[in-house]
Amino acid sequence: MGGPEDDPPPALEVTVRRLKLDSAEDKALCATFSCGSEEWEVQVSDFITRKLWLPGRDAEHTLLAVEAGSGLMFGFGATKVTTVELPQRPDPVPIVRVCYFGVASAFKGAVDTDGRKWASRLYTTVEADARSRAPSPDVPFELFCDRRNERGLRFWTDTKRGFEVIGAAYGDLLRLVRMPPDTAGVAAAAQ
């Protein structure tokens, strides 16, 4: 036992800002992003390096995370509010879709000074920001994850995120949803 692979990762500092499509600095930063060579990782990288910047798109709301020490891009999260049909609901409902979320290969597993995973904190930030723009704070959240992406599926279905696979989407993508808890009991509990 022992060796460098057993050492805890060094603590980093990560900052977050809103991506601006008219910012040459943001575009140049995003152009450097890569989260891996697997097919699903290439798709995430392609989104932030190229697709997001195509003219005429209805762009997703995107947060950029930067590693403060190096100035390198740590990761990003892109969301949008849309309306979908869900098997749990009789009528179409507004939801927040997590369109893309990625952490650069170099920073996977990175932790803060308290040992908390920056990826988890970044997602919480992305979710809270998206929720603030949703019609209701209790909207469902939806995302799609490649069925071969075991690390991603573990991340999303972890109790901290709480997503559940509700079925196949298309190709190798699985559809994951997190419904809001039934808040009907809140008012009763508060009486």
């Binding site: 308290d114 930030t125 901290k160 808890p181 039934d182 508060a190």
Partner: protein, 89 residues
Amino acid sequence: MTSSTQTQVGTAYNTEVVVVNLASLAPQPGAALSPTSRAHLMAAQLQLDSHDLFVTSRSVLGYRAGLAFLDVLGRPGPVLADAPIAIEA
């Protein structure tokens, strides 16, 4: 079922925060105090204001209790799974 209040002091946003064990706010059959009354009591005991608190539970019970607690503190908001990162202006 315990109704004790467990707290932990930590830091986030470079400020001191209090993490509250929301299980002590969950509905308890036969309890003398309602969840709201217990939330009021806890907030007073801890001298909390709305900026001190992050709710970290994802369970339904914790979510409900968390909403009740946030309501008491006048800060309707989401239940957060982890400490968010401040978004730069």
